[in-house]
Subunit: 244 residues, 2 copies
């Protein structure tokens, strides 16, 4: 399980690169496999699947690994954050494959810190990460998590904020945040972090348009201390109050 980071070659770790170089088989969701540079794929078995092909992908990767082939499953970002690493381990446990395959997870720069870096430093204090995808999680649980995170003054990071079918959830998430935060709370939006077409914006919560987000965006809702200035968003941790 290898994390490619955001996609920029400058943010791919040497350890991940080496694992791909050394692999005999590369497995992944098509857009992620496309992120791997062509020369790295030469001479290797490449298995790609489409959206929602997660179980298929894992099954095929485990098949290859069980044959004794060195197999990498590539994910963008970090494979452990809403990535495939969890499902691989789940399947290995369910099918009792512990003795047949050896699973190693190599971290990558996750989308949340790549996006945060572009905004400034929204995550400099406690934060909660919530996916707005209700495909596998009941919406009621997502709402509970949003409400609890807002109530406890966590900075909130939203994954999968919007898709053509998922058009009202981000607006509802902002509404829930508004019940606990002021209208000037900074909201940061990053689309395509470190990729062609990158877009960044910081807005007051009351003026944020959920329609500006898409499937590949990450949205940050500040805590009560988060500030915005000169297009940057940052969350003080309290050093200045304490020491000055």
């Amino acid at each position: 399980m290898v994390g490619l980071g955001p996609g920029d070659a400058g943010l791919l770790c040497p350890k991940a690169l080496k694992a791909i170089e050394d692999a005999q088989v590369i497995v992944g969701y098509r857009p992620y496999v496309d992120m791997v540079q062509e020369p790295l794929k030469a001479g290797k078995t490449v298995i790609t699947t489409g959206m929602r092909g997660e179980l298929d992908r894992v099954g095929r990767a485990l098949e290859q690994a069980a044959l004794g082939l060195s197999t990498v499953v590539v994910s963008s970002g970090d494979p452990g954050v809403y990535g495939m690493a969890g499902l691989v381990l789940e399947v290995v446990e369910k099918k009792g494959l512990w003795d047949q395959v050896q699973v190693e997870v190599l971290p990558g720069i996750p989308a949340l810190t790549a996006a945060a870096a572009l905004l400034g430093a929204p995550l400099a204090h406690d934060f909660a990460v919530v996916s707005l995808s209700d495909l596998l999680t009941p919406w009621e649980l997502i709402e509970t998590r949003l409400a609890c995170a807002a109530q406890a003054d966590f900075v909130i990071v939203l994954y999968n904020p919007r898709s053509p079918k998922r058009h009202w959830q981000l607006g509802r998430a902002c509404e829930i945040a508004s019940e606990h935060r002021g209208p000037k709370t900074p909201v940061g939006l990053v689309c395509q972090a470190f990729r062609p077409g990158q877009k960044i914006g910081v807005f007051p919560l009351a003026g944020f348009d959920p329609g500006a987000a898409d499937m590949l965006s990450i949205v940050f809702i500040g805590n009560s201390q988060t500030r915005m200035a000169k297009g940057r968003m940052f969350t003080p941790r309290g050093y200045m109050e304490k020491y000055e």
Copy 2:
């Protein structure tokens, strides 16, 4: 602001490496500067400070940058996650330095995903990240965050779980989690991820000894679905229930 990742050269991104190579000045907390390989420091001004020297460090870095010198502030992990990036932006805003310095944040592999990778995939679903350091944050707020995160069934990641002076907080955090999670909930402990002296363990919540953690550990408390098997910890996202 450059993130060094966990410390292993294989987990330092090329972009971060290049920023350090190109810099004229390197500033950082001493142990982080020590993580930078010696040849990279040759011929550069190196400014190190001790623990709690955060404001001093930022002040000195901004001084150098305002002189027109290319200056990197190095942090382990990601500089935006409980790192110095927030404080730098805060000081730049407070002192009105936006026109004198240009601040760029380069992400690094954060401790939370490095540690998670070693355990398996504890962060494959929604999670909340809480620092147990009450130096800058009132303990009451930390408890509120822990309680809300536990109640909403977030996987919980604990930074700064224990220090010689902070010896009861991790036990209290586990107690709060126990009010909402069963005694068999997996707890993962990672000390010195990807560094010499690395230690990893997974325990049931009821059998976890907070004394095993130290200042450089990361602790993961699973959600109600998190599993442990063969020394691994992973959180199902629901693919198997949905598609099989």
